[in-house]
Symmetry: C2
Subunit: 202 residues, 2 copies
């Protein structure tokens, strides 16, 4: 099977998994929005970051977000760092809505794969995402854990490592490291060292 067929199969898998659209009163665009704000870190839970992630315009993204806010799935809170910026967070209603995410059909199918197959798939998808994003000049939205801007300073006293983003110069909590960030960028060469650093036993 040639590369185009595989590419098309991936597109088909995504389309089929996205569901028949309206589930639990939410449109596909709204589901995508909820998913994004559930996974993005606090720097990226903005209209602009979501617009870039969803490959749409800020105007469209603003409309979708506004609808979710008015329906009680998201809360709107102005940023304390930037007076222009607004951060959106999931409400309890938003979180519980994700329990019925139509994309879970795909998640469960992934869960049925053998662990090594699953990891291989994850690696391949991540690599393809970076590659395609690079050729398009778009950010690839990875997690801080594998980002070249992650600064990890081992605090000798307590033994607890402390993290920070040296691009935004903001501290990062340990459980922030797996969230999506609009500023994600892979390090050019030492990927293995980084993955060993972050991927060790927790």
């Amino acid at each position: 099977m040639d590369n185009r067929s595989i590419a098309q199969s991936i597109a088909q898998l995504a389309r089929m998994s996205a569901g028949d659209g309206h589930v639990c009163g939410l449109t596909p665009a709204q589901w995508n929005t909820l998913r994004f704000f559930a996974r993005a870190n606090r720097f990226s839970r903005t209209v602009s970051a979501f617009a870039e992630f969803h490959a749409t315009t800020r105007g469209t993204a603003s409309q979708t977000v506004k609808g979710l806010v008015s329906e009680g799935y998201l809360t709107r809170s102005p940023s304390d760092l930037d007076g222009r910026s607004v951060r959106f967070d999931l409400t309890d209603k938003g979180r519980s809505a994700l329990d019925h995410d139509p994309l879970d059909a795909l998640s469960e199918a992934i869960g049925k794969l053998a662990p090594d197959v699953r990891n291989q798939l994850e690696t391949s998808v991540k690599r393809l995402t970076e590659e395609v994003a690079r050729t398009r000049g778009k950010p690839s939205f990875g997690s801080c854990r594998f980002c070249c801007h992650l600064a990890c300073a081992l605090r000798k006293s307590g033994g607890e490592p402390s993290y920070a983003c040296d691009l935004l110069e903001q501290p990062l909590a340990a459980n922030d490291l797996d969230d999506l960030c609009v500023n994600f960028e892979t390090a050019p060469s030492n990927a293995t060292a980084r993955s060993r650093r972050g991927g060790g036993p927790s």
Copy 2:
């Protein structure tokens, strides 16, 4: 990374690869339509099959196809087997349009993977597609080569194997075997035997 994150990454990869929409004057829906009719076998190049593949209604699919016919990308020819049915085939214009398919960004990224990684990816995507399709009760659109309806009779005299679909009771040419079919169904158990039969050295 949990299964939901991987699922979302796949959706993200597909969305990003689908392109910013209008390329060469074709909309995303039109690109999908062209891709489908380029890969579907002659039993599946119909409005209904495409509607099922694209997870939309026949009405919407009919509109999209009509647009492509009027713009010269597809030809419309009534079926000789069924007076209701209409088959659509790509014109030269349609074929050459696919040379600028925005999905090729993903295809090329797949081509850069190591061969074994690529094959593993193909297998995983195929399995996930079947699994998700099964839970939704939708056809999974595989190729005849791996379909349980493929009847393969080795013709002893010439040495050439001759193929047929024992569901539609129609002959199949050797180069039809890799096209998509709406009637695709995997055999329940002997998948390895089938893949060995079809996937051997060419």
